[in-house]
């Protein structure tokens, strides 16, 4: 008997296997079409723009387009001594174009970021070019070198050469307090100017301790909620859920009122005699405020996952542990605690992820010593308008968060996130 006869056929005479595959494919497409609108929407409005942040953060095309002739000539220059006549000539013609377009100022600012002192010497050169003082029939190199002594210094020409590639990692280096030195090597900035590293460490430190505090406070109450009879636990659950549903700004405002110098907490400390009335401690606009407010705000995100795990643990397990001779502590440590580890993982990762990117609360109660990396990103987006640097910092933060998200996904699974 050949194999074809063994095949089962549907009523239309098509082999069942083929027909089934066709039906499955149809179902697959149907399912995908349902997801497609949201997926497309997110890819266009969200995923691509994040990718655009990346291209913006490494983009350095502006100067590449400003000095096309110069960079072409510079390819032949070895960068050791002063560049040859051709480079100076090419630079002069590029600069002339920029002066006509009134873009020489931008060039000066951009080069000044690479090496201090460029701003003034491009202005000097601009005045010479504007007044047509430079004679194009004789050596342009000699004339430019006469404008200012820095134009005779090889370091400045090396700095121009370094800006040639259309892409740069300098924003990322700046985010880690490093920069390209004159010879192109990566160098650390002076110790007293390492502001970004302090911010990264502080962000990690605050996120870590907020997670720890949330765990220490969340574990007992999640346990209480899970073990109390339903009618009591429902009532207490409101204490967790009401802050969870309340506006973040309202909760931050209430902490601002509580923690201010004439606030309720300080009043209480004075009343019980912990501090003197004229020596009230500053609890806001510093790290203390950030810790206290963030812990309270993120605590529900710790309690809810812990609660949903603890709810599934049968109380008879603890009884069994005790009946087998364990003291309550041993039974808790050996039986109950290991069973809650999935909940601990979920809660801690969630709180950590949320804490590391926190912006509003630190900005309001953090002051100068309690601000985080997010505040720095907002600062560069709104105040200095250095959007490429803000993008670079944002992506550095994002990569950290995505690593934790990936771990979370492996351990907990995103489809297991529970809300409320």
């Amino acid at each position: 008997m050949s194999s074809e006869i063994k095949q089962i056929l549907t009523t239309d005479g098509i082999p069942l296997e083929v027909s089934l595959k066709k039906a499955e494919k149809k179902n697959k497409i149907k399912a995908f079409l349902l997801v497609a609108p949201l997926l497309l929407f997110l890819i266009i409005t969200y995923v691509f723009p994040i990718g655009e942040m990346f291209s913006r953060s490494i983009d350095d095309k502006m100067i590449t387009n400003m000095l096309p002739k110069t960079f072409k000539e510079m390819e032949k220059w070895d960068g050791q001594e002063l560049p040859p006549e051709e480079v100076f000539t090419a630079f002069y013609y590029d600069f002339k174009v920029l002066v006509e377009k009134q873009e020489h100022g931008k060039l000066g600012q951009r080069l000044n970021k690479e090496k201090n002192g460029f701003n003034s010497i491009t202005k000097k050169l601009f005045r010479q070019v504007k007044r047509k003082k430079i004679d194009e029939s004789i050596s342009i190199k000699e004339q430019i070198m006469k404008v200012h002594k820095r134009w005779r210094t090889v370091e400045y020409w090396q700095a121009i050469k370094r800006t040639a590639p259309p892409y740069t990692m300098s924003k990322y280096l700046k985010g880690m307090d490093m920069y390209y030195a004159a010879d192109g090597s990566i160098t650390q900035v002076d110790e007293d100017r390492r502001i970004h590293r302090i911010l990264w460490l502080r962000t990690l430190e605050i996120a870590f301790f907020v997670t720890l505090f949330c765990f220490l406070m969340g574990y007992p109450i999640a346990h209480l909620l899970a073990t109390l009879p339903m009618k009591y636990s429902n009532l207490l659950m409101i204490c967790v859920l009401l802050p969870f549903w309340t506006s973040l700004l309202v909760r931050t405002a209430s902490w601002m009122i509580l923690l201010q110098q004439q606030g309720v907490v300080n009043d209480f400390f004075v009343m019980i005699g912990l501090v003197a009335d004229d020596n009230r401690p500053e609890m806001m606009y510093n790290k203390v405020g950030t810790y206290v407010a963030m812990t309270q705000i993120l605590l529900p995100f710790m309690v809810l996952p812990l609660y949903s795990v603890m709810k599934t643990i049968s109380p008879s397990l603890m009884r069994a542990g005790k009946s087998l001779g364990g003291t309550p502590f041993v039974a808790f440590y050996k039986v109950y605690f290991p069973l809650t580890i999935p909940g601990i993982g979920a809660g801690c990762l969630l709180v950590f992820i949320l804490a590391i990117g926190y912006y509003i609360t630190p900005a309001l109660v953090g002051g100068a010593s309690g601000t985080l990396i997010s505040n720095q990103i907002a600062f560069h987006m709104k105040q200095t308008l250095d959007w490429s640097f803000a993008s670079a910092m944002g992506l550095m933060l994002l990569s950290g968060v995505l690593v934790i998200y990936w771990i979370y996904n492996k351990l907990v699974g995103v489809d297991n996130i529970k809300l409320g």
């Binding site: 399912a31 949201l38 997110l42 409005t45 723009p49 309202v250 309550p328 907002a378 993008s391």
Partner: protein
């Protein structure tokens, strides 16, 4: 949690320590919200409890900040409230439609690349808001939707859909698919089946996802800070500016209203959850 009579003293002590810790934590969670209520009725301009308030003197209390919130000439709260509600309602509708469709697809066992797609759809909830804000701002500026209501609504749909996807997928996980097959075998087309059979059953999940989306939009400030112009100011933006610049008791009046609103939302969310559990036959 009564202790059995045979409990040893040291465990008894531990138990009381544990109860004390729990009481303290619950107090820590809920008490800050209640400091706002009395202060919003303060007759004076300062954000501290005056001597009169401590002595419960009726003259120390007044409704002046509530009047200021509603009738105050320079107060932008009216416009802000209008904007907030318009934006939140449209963002909620958008999130519900896109999120529910996606959840239906994701719950199908035929869905290809489920893990990676789910992770992408949830990502706006995980990515720090400041980064979402920067990215969405770049996009909206490019397509010319910055400083428009439409731009903010789209941004809030991005941030709100993950919640709908999560809650509806959770509801669908206990969903008995034989009822849709039964409907189909009785001659109902897929759209009709969805409207008459599936939707009523998953409605609690859809609505509670919608509540999350509404609250997310209504409370969102980071992304709006990047997107909003003067015309698109919202309640959170006004609160943010107020808290940064001059902390006036009017903010506390607004905050009190917001707490009442969130209490209402909490009650409806809880009722929905219980109804959903009853519908799905989960009895605890």
């Amino acid at each position: 949690m009564a202790l059995p009579s045979y409990t040893e003293t040291r465990y008894r002590i531990w138990h009381y320590i544990y109860i004390t810790i729990c009481t303290f934590v619950f107090f820590f969670l809920i008490a800050p919200l209640f400091v706002i209520f009395p202060l919003s009725f303060n007759a004076e301009e300062f954000l501290v409890f005056s001597e009169g308030m401590k002595n419960l003197d009726p003259d120390a209390f007044s409704l002046r900040w509530y009047k200021d919130m509603i009738y105050g000439t320079k107060n932008p709260w009216g416009l802000a409230a209008k904007n907030s509600f318009i934006i939140a309602i449209f963002a909620t509708i958008g999130s519900i439609i896109l999120g529910t469709l996606a959840a239906l697809g994701l719950s199908s066992r035929h869905m290809p690349y489920k893990g990676i797609i789910m992770a992408t759809l949830i990502s706006p909830m995980i990515v720090p808001l400041i980064i979402s804000g920067v990215a969405i701002f770049f996009f909206m500026a490019k397509v010319g939707l910055a400083a428009t209501h439409a731009g903010i609504v789209l941004a809030h749909i991005i941030l709100g859909t993950p919640f709908v996807v999560i809650t509806v997928t959770a509801t669908l996980s206990g969903f008995d698919h034989s009822v849709t097959r039964a409907a189909a075998s009785l001659g109902s087309n897929p759209v009709n089946t969805f409207m008459k059979v599936t939707l009523p059953l998953i409605l609690p999940g859809v609505i509670s996802g919608g509540l999350f989306a509404f609250v997310t939009s209504f409370d969102e400030v980071v992304v709006v800070l990047f997107l909003a112009g003067l015309e698109n100011t919202t309640i959170p933006i006004q609160m943010w500016t107020g808290l940064r610049e001059q902390l006036s008791p009017t903010i506390l009046a607004v905050a009190t209203c917001l707490i009442i609103l969130s209490t209402l939302i909490l009650i409806s969310a809880e009722l929905l959850r219980r109804r959903s559990e009853r519908l799905r036959g989960i009895n605890r």
